[in-house]
């Protein structure tokens, strides 16, 4: 049993990563990765929300009528996100200002619905909790990788601090403005998938 829990936590981080293997949550991965800070904040919020909604759905799983299960999942996620956002506004206003639009994006994140439907509906609360944490971290990991590349080459900064020294600019180096745009995020996610598949050969489709 302990081994299975371990799997639930570790699998989604690398071998069954929600973004690069399950191809979920791509839309928000494009939106929030132009800088590292929002990417990390978004990754952590998604982790918390997936874990919590996984636990709730897992507790309710035997009572949910099969025909309206997607609606039930949606209501749980939406209610949870709204409550978390209200609590943040009341007790951590600065964080909620930073999250601003992203908190709404969490509801539309396909990882949530995907994990609820694929895992929490069949498994107990504790495993579901671990699965939520694992998937959230897997998502956060990809966001951080993409945001790192985009911020470094797009604005020459990391976490808002200048890292490309001034003399590079003096010698004609230019920030790549295309990096900031959403299409480049898609290309980068593609590159990450490519690298990921060449390391894990058994994931390659024939």
């Amino acid at each position: 049993m302990a081994n299975k829990n371990n799997e639930a936590l570790k699998q989604p981080v690398w071998l069954n990563n929600p973004v690069v293997v399950q191809i979920l949550g791509i839309c928000s991965a494009l939106a929030v990765t132009s800088q590292l800070k929002p990417a990390i904040v978004m990754g952590l919020s998604v982790t918390v929300i997936v874990a919590m909604s996984n636990v709730i759905i897992s507790l309710l799983r035997n009572t949910i009528p099969n025909r309206i299960r997607i609606i039930v999942q949606l209501v749980v996620v939406a209610a949870l996100v709204t409550i978390v956002s209200e609590i943040l506004k009341a007790f951590a206003y600065d964080v909620s200002v930073q999250l601003s639009v992203y908190i709404g994006l969490i509801i539309t994140n396909c990882i949530l619905m995907g994990r609820l439907e694929a895992f929490a509906m069949q498994n107990g609360p504790w495993e579901s909790f671990l699965d939520g944490i694992g998937n959230g971290l897997g998502y956060a990991f990809i966001l951080i990788v993409v945001a790192f590349v985009r911020e470094l080459f797009g604005s020459g900064k990391l976490f808002g601090f200048q890292v490309v020294p001034q003399w590079c600019y003096d010698h004609g180096y230019l920030n790549n403005g295309f990096m900031i745009m959403a299409p480049m995020a898609l290309i980068l996610v593609g590159c990450v998938i490519w690298i990921h598949r060449s390391i894990n050969k058994d994931l390659q489709e024939k």
Binding site: E86, F91, I180
Partner: protein, 291 residues
């Protein structure tokens, strides 16, 4: 007697009996596609309710909606006062930022120390005290025809702060501009936004250097608002009426420019009411009298 359960891996159909059926009655999958469901512990005895029935589904949905609705109302109403206090606090923090007082630890105390009065501009440019509640949305205030001016004092010098609201590329932008006692020279400025792109448009808020580049610039020239935010790198450094926009965020910079133009134009009676040391100003006073 324990009947076993078999689930079709293709469509999810559950068959009860001692053995899996030859063919799935729903999707026609062969026997090999069935797997036995092993219930954990002694749970199966307690399956009383049919969760697939219509009545159950409707009651379930109704109960869920009512529970969630009450929960949300409860959370929202208990947290409302705290949230409002936070919004007021944040607005005051932004006003202080326009006075170049950033990262203030105790916002309320600092605000009470620096900002002396919340005034309303009259049609002739004079100020009367405003006695309503502290506002956090100046958009609706402009809509009501109420033009706020905050009187402040920093290091013994009088400053005037004017709130601004406008439209960026993706959503609302707003800001506060603090003027010196001559009602023309910018002492400090603060911008913020609802949803501009991080790294591009959002720089109007994050990039302190952009906000600082407004310091010492002037607003009114020949009776009209002449301060322009131009394309990055195109600003004439010697002109007091030009500021560089944000690199790569021309649309947002244009929004800032339009906001300054539009809002401060409605403040012209106030801005032109006092004319020290400014030649343009006296010409403008004549224009005003002809009107």
């Amino acid at each position: 007697m324990a009947t076993k359960k078999f689930k079709c891996k293709v469509c999810g159909y559950v068959h009860e009996g001692n053995e899996a059926p030859e063919k799935c009655p729903l999707c026609g999958a062969p026997k090999s596609e069935f797997e036995e469901i092993v219930e954990g512990g002694a749970a199966p005895a307690k399956k009383g309710i049919d969760t697939g029935s219509n009545v159950y589904t409707i009651i379930y949905a109704a109960v869920m909606v009512i529970v969630v609705a009450f929960l949300l109302v409860f959370v929202s109403s208990t947290l409302k006062p705290r949230q409002d206090a936070n919004v007021v606090n944040d607005t005051k923090k932004q006003i202080l930022a326009s006075l170049n007082l950033r990262n203030v630890a105790d916002v309320k105390a600092e605000y009470d120390k620096c900002v002396k009065a919340d005034m309303l501009m009259q049609a002739d440019g004079s100020l009367v005290p405003y006695d309503g509640q502290f506002n956090t949305s100046y958009n609706s205030e402009f809509g009501k025809g109420q033009y706020h001016v905050f009187q402040a004092q920093v290091d013994g010098q009088d400053k005037f702060i004017i709130p601004m609201v406008g439209q960026g590329l993706w959503g609302a932008i707003w800001g506060y501009v603090a003027l010196d006692a001559d009602r023309n020279t910018i002492y400090g400025i603060y911008f913020s936004h609802a949803s501009e792109t991080p790294g591009l448009g959002a720089e109007i808020k994050e990039n302190i250097k952009f906000q600082e580049s407004f310091q010492g610039k002037m607003i009114v020239n020949n009776g009209a608002v002449d301060l322009d935010v131009v394309k990055s790198g195109k600003a004439d450094k010697s002109s007091p009426f030009e500021v560089d926009g944000v690199t790569g965020a021309t649309m947002t910079s244009n929004g800032v420019d339009a906001m300054i133009d539009k809002v401060l134009s409605s403040y012209i009676p106030f801005l032109a009411a006092q004319c020290p040391l400014n030649d343009a100003c006296s010409q403008e006073a004549e224009v005003e009298s002809i009107d």
